[in-house]
């Protein structure tokens, strides 16, 4: 529907000054085409789109454009719902096309490039601009602009200047700058990055290590993947800065093997950076040696926990251990280790180049900078967004997200922080999004998952989903997490199946509280959050399941009851014909009636009724 809205997407763009060979046909000197090749883009067919651009340009006699590499790859620009996205920058103006397929390219080349008239109907609509306008892009900005597989593209936008500058400072000055910026860990708990570095730098043991935690595991979250795929050098530069500051000569990137594209681009990036002398012996001739190794994880959620991650690198089963000692004192192989998340590291180059005060001017009192969220759920604009800390949830949902996807539905709640986070009810969406506010309301920042739910979402069912995730990802080491979450899952399951008992809610609260208090690591300590926060804000919904056997959202299949609205029934009998269990009693010219004892609640009659008379 959105495409119907006519769009005029023309923004001024700096004209490319190139001196390519003159070709017949139009002058393509200033032509640049940028196609998104993030995992989302590739899945939507962006490689085919690129190939098609090449073929069509050649077919139209524009070999010159192909030869001078006018068709560029870029990382994800966030709005994955509209993939394949491509910018066509020509004659000083840029147009962005959405939902491209190879078949559309011929017309674009002909009309836009040859005749100079953009194909209006395929251009992005105003929602694309609204989506981006409210965002503050530091990390994602470059993702959508540069070729992630070309180090010169990164250097061209000021890349590696931060590392160069940091290495010209003392280690102490670098740490001070990061401390002043107020940067906090983007992986979950939000610990001050500079302080973590300081603790590690104080330790006299050697060698030290810096680890990039790229084991992004929250369901639906892909912030780190997109940053690595779109701008791998920013992460590497961040690691060089961090490694130098704490005195580590070896860095590890722990990344899940399910991210093959990100791994491939990291390998290319490390290779190129090594060739340029940014990694290796005597980096920037400062006397500092630094190497980076990639360790592929097998995709266990728990390996995002830092001590489990270390165990995994050491070749052991990925299981957390008690802290203290903290990794900054005893980490990888018992040596001082700093573990920073991808997003944290990616922030560092600009903090060093632009200064701590620039960074701390963005965001709220205690949470500085921006945060990338994976916006998903029942919302119009799904994708990756980067917003300043302290922005209200309302702005994210209604301005950037475009509001609830389905017209007749209302916002019910927002889940932040993935399976470790909690639920924020619609009544509280004026709250600012920062570390403290989210924790106060019983949720957390986490790594940046944000699931928007409308009123057709059952809170009990939603909690059940998250707890089944944490249960199956529990490492099994500690009892409360291993068996406790299993029992919580079973209680939630019986509630959603209509077998809930009196006292189940209190039991969930008691068990959830005890699991939080007594579990060993962050996974168990936060696993009950979705349940506890929904009981806190939506207790009536739980009670309705247990006491009345009704799921108010209509989502729990076992509690659904199908009845025929006699007034709306037109006696067509379609419902009776599709019913697999002969539960619909119908005779020609008679209104249908559903026999509840035979009904298996499959919903076939509901779907089949042309008059919406089955409820």
């Amino acid at each position: 529907m959105a495409e119907k809205k006519k769009a005029k997407a023309k923004t001024a763009i700096r004209a490319k000054t190139g001196s390519g060979p003159k070709a017949k046909g139009p002058d393509v000197t200033g032509l640049t085409i940028r196609v998104c090749v993030g995992t989302g883009g590739l899945a939507a067919g962006s490689q085919e789109v690129i190939d098609s651009f090449h073929t069509e340009l050649k077919a139209h006699g524009l070999e010159a454009a192909v030869e001078k590499k006018s068709v560029n790859k870029t990382g994800c620009r966030g709005f994955c719902a509209k993939d394949v996205l491509a910018d066509v920058i020509f004659n000083g103006s840029a147009s962005t096309y959405q939902r491209l397929t190879p078949e559309k390219i011929g017309r674009i080349v002909e009309e836009h490039i040859i005749n100079g008239r953009p194909v209006e109907e395929w251009l992005v609509g105003p929602d694309y601009h609204i989506f981006h306008d409210k965002q503050t892009k530091i990390l994602l900005k470059q993702c959508g602009q540069i070729d992630p597989e070309d180090i010169n593209a990164y250097i061209g936008i000021g890349g590696y200047e931060g590392a160069k500058k940091a290495l010209s400072l003392t280690e102490f000055e670098t740490i001070e700058e990061v401390k002043k910026s107020g940067l906090r860990g983007r992986g979950g708990a939000g610990f001050l990055t500079g302080l973590k570095w300081e603790f590690c730098s104080m330790s006299r043991a050697a060698p030290k290590y810096i680890i990039c935690n790229a084991d992004e595991g929250d369901p639906g979250a892909f912030m780190d993947r997109s940053i690595i795929e779109g701008n791998p050098h920013s992460v590497i530069e961040g690691m060089i800065i961090g490694g130098y500051a704490i005195g580590a000569n070896t860095g590890y990137i722990y990344i899940r093997a399910e991210y093959p594209l990100a791994i491939e681009r990291l390998k290319i990036a490390i290779d190129e950076a090594t060739k340029k002398g940014f990694i290796g012996k005597n980096v920037f001739e400062s006397g500092f040696d630094f190497e980076i190794r990639i360790k592929e994880g097998a995709g266990a959620f728990i390996c995002g926990e830092e001590t489990a991650l270390i165990a995994s690198i050491e070749g052991k089963r990925g299981m957390p251990r008690s802290k203290p000692p903290f990794p900054v004192n005893k980490g990888l192989r018992g040596k001082p280790t700093v573990i920073n998340n991808v997003e944290t590291l990616s922030n560092l180059p600009s903090i060093i180049t632009k200064g701590a005060s620039w960074f701390s001017s963005i965001g709220s009192e205690q949470s500085k900078g921006t945060k990338v969220f994976a916006l998903t759920g029942n919302i119009k604009n799904t994708g990756l967004i980067e917003v300043p800390m302290g922005i209200s949830l309302k702005e994210i949902i209604y301005d950037i997200g475009g509001g609830i996807e389905k017209k007749n539905r209302k916002l019910k709640a927002v889940q932040t922080g993935g399976p470790s986070g909690g639920c924020i009810p619609a009544s509280r969406i004026d709250m600012p999004v920062d570390y403290e506010s989210l924790t106060r309301i019983g949720s957390m920042m986490g790594s940046g998952g944000m699931v928007v739910m409308d009123n057709a979402t059952c809170m009990v069912d939603m909690s059940k989903f998250f707890i089944s995730f944490t249960q199956s990802e529990s490492c099994g080491k500690c009892v409360p997490c291993r068996i406790g979450t299993k029992r919580m899952l079973e209680i939630l399951t019986r509630i959603t199946e209509g077998n809930g008992k009196d006292g189940d809610i209190d039991l969930l609260v008691e068990l959830g509280t005890d699991i939080k208090l007594s579990s060993l690591c962050g996974l168990g300590q936060s696993a009950p959050n979705p349940v506890l926060s929904t009981i806190n804000f939506f207790r009536k919904e739980y009670e309705s399941h247990i006491k009345k056997g009704i799921c108010p959202a209509g989502a729990c299949k076992a509690l659904r009851q199908y009845v025929v609205n006699a007034e709306a029934c037109k006696m067509c009998g379609k419902c009776a014909r599709v019913c697999p269990s002969s539960a619909v009693i119908w005779q020609p010219k008679q209104k249908a009636v559903i026999n509840k004892s035979k009904c298996v609640k499959c919903g076939a009659c509901f779907d089949a009724c042309p008059f919406k008379s089955i409820m």
Partner: protein
């Protein structure tokens, strides 16, 4: 922050001095204060898995595990409060909710840490009903019976196999509720993957791992424990022979043994079959012609003494010597050498442990 060597702490109002590297659990144990735990074994690195040893530390918002938390100066600890008691009860209930109600015929009854805690905290598994493991008993080997259903995943077997024995036979496999200790690819234990030292059995707090040969032959409280020294080699490991009705039923670890701290190898733990073997020689045998004949000790010793004396008279005292066994105790070996030096009057003494 280099701390002082001695730290002063307070546990349940009692002032205690302890060493720098000690954990709360160690400090409490030394002071005779008991903190419940299932996953701790002094032979192993602190683990923090069962969460039963959580204690209240003044100034800390959440309970801390005593087994992994190092003491700090002036730490004030309470080993139990209402919240901690409730959590402990819930943890035991959760464990029992996936544990067969099988104490009546369980090998471990009376000696089971889980049973003891259930009794002490007065809980059963009925509070959290739900799925229970229903896995077959694994006894496809001669020494160790593994009943996974009784496993509480304290990880002690896994850790002793990897930290102490370094055999790497077992590790935790699976995730979540289905995590369990097992061999690689869940293959049966055999000499290919296991040393059969039984160290895992010695540390198991429940009836999940038991000595196969002793199953059904008596509970712990029916046994008379006889401390002895292993006679298989010269290391001098101690262990307890478990004797019932005058018969050695099994060997259990002596955790306070100065040499081995309860650790044993396959010989010490499982090599006791010979004691009651029907083929065992119980009297001296004297060869007459081609066959052996039972004799009394007097007859045998007279014969030996007479022959030795005869040989020494004929060929001199250096013509004989004493060769002892590494299966003898140090004391016995000492006596053999003494015998050689004083009776044979020579230094011809040797022992098979020399090699």
């Amino acid at each position: 922050m280099p701390g002082k060597k001695i730290k002063k702490i307070e546990i349940d109002g009692r002032k205690i001095s302890c060493e720098k590297e000690e954990t709360i659990l160690q400090a409490a144990k030394k002071a005779g204060i008991e903190i419940p735990t299932l996953c701790h074994d002094d032979r192993l690195e602190p683990y923090g898995g069962c969460r039963l040893c959580i204690v209240e530390v003044k100034g800390v918002g959440r309970p801390l595990p005593a087994c992994t938390t190092p003491v700090t100066n002036n730490m004030e600890i309470r080993t139990e409060n209402d919240t901690i008691k409730r959590i402990r009860k819930n943890i035991i209930s959760l464990l029992l909710s996936n544990h067969p109600n099988d104490c009546m015929r369980c090998e471990k009854t009376g000696d089971c840490a889980l049973q003891g805690l259930a009794y002490r905290y007065d809980v059963d598994g009925s509070r959290f009903e739900g799925e229970q493991w229903d896995l077959p008993i694994r006894d496809d080997n001669p020494f160790i019976t593994y009943e996974p259903n009784k496993c509480i995943l304290c990880g002690r077997c896994v850790r002793i196999c990897n930290e102490v024995v370094m055999a790497g036979t077992i590790d935790l496999v699976g995730r979540g509720f289905n995590s369990m200790p097992d061999t690689a690819f869940r293959k049966p234990r055999s000499l290919d993957n296991c040393e059969f030292c039984g160290q895992c059995v010695s540390t198991c707090p429940t009836g999940a791992l038991t000595d196969k040969k002793a199953r059904g032959r008596g509970r712990a409280y029916e046994m008379k424990k006889v401390r002895t020294t292993c006679s298989y080699c010269g290391t001098g490991c101690n262990f307890d022979l478990n004797v019932k009705d005058g018969k050695v039923v099994k060997v259990t670890s002596a955790y306070d043994a100065p040499v081995n701290h309860g650790n044993l190898c396959i010989k010490g733990r499982y090599g006791y079959d010979f004691i009651h073997n029907a083929d065992r020689i119980k009297t001296p045998l004297i060869r007459k012609g081609d066959s052996f004949h039972e004799a009394t000790w007097d007859e045998a010793l007279d014969l030996i003494a007479g022959r030795f004396s005869g040989l020494m008279k004929k060929y001199g005292n250096k013509s004989v010597g004493a060769f002892s066994s590494s299966r003898c105790t140090n004391e016995e070996n000492f006596l053999v050498s003494k015998f050689a030096r004083t009776v044979f009057k020579n230094n011809n003494v040797d022992n098979c442990a020399r090699v």
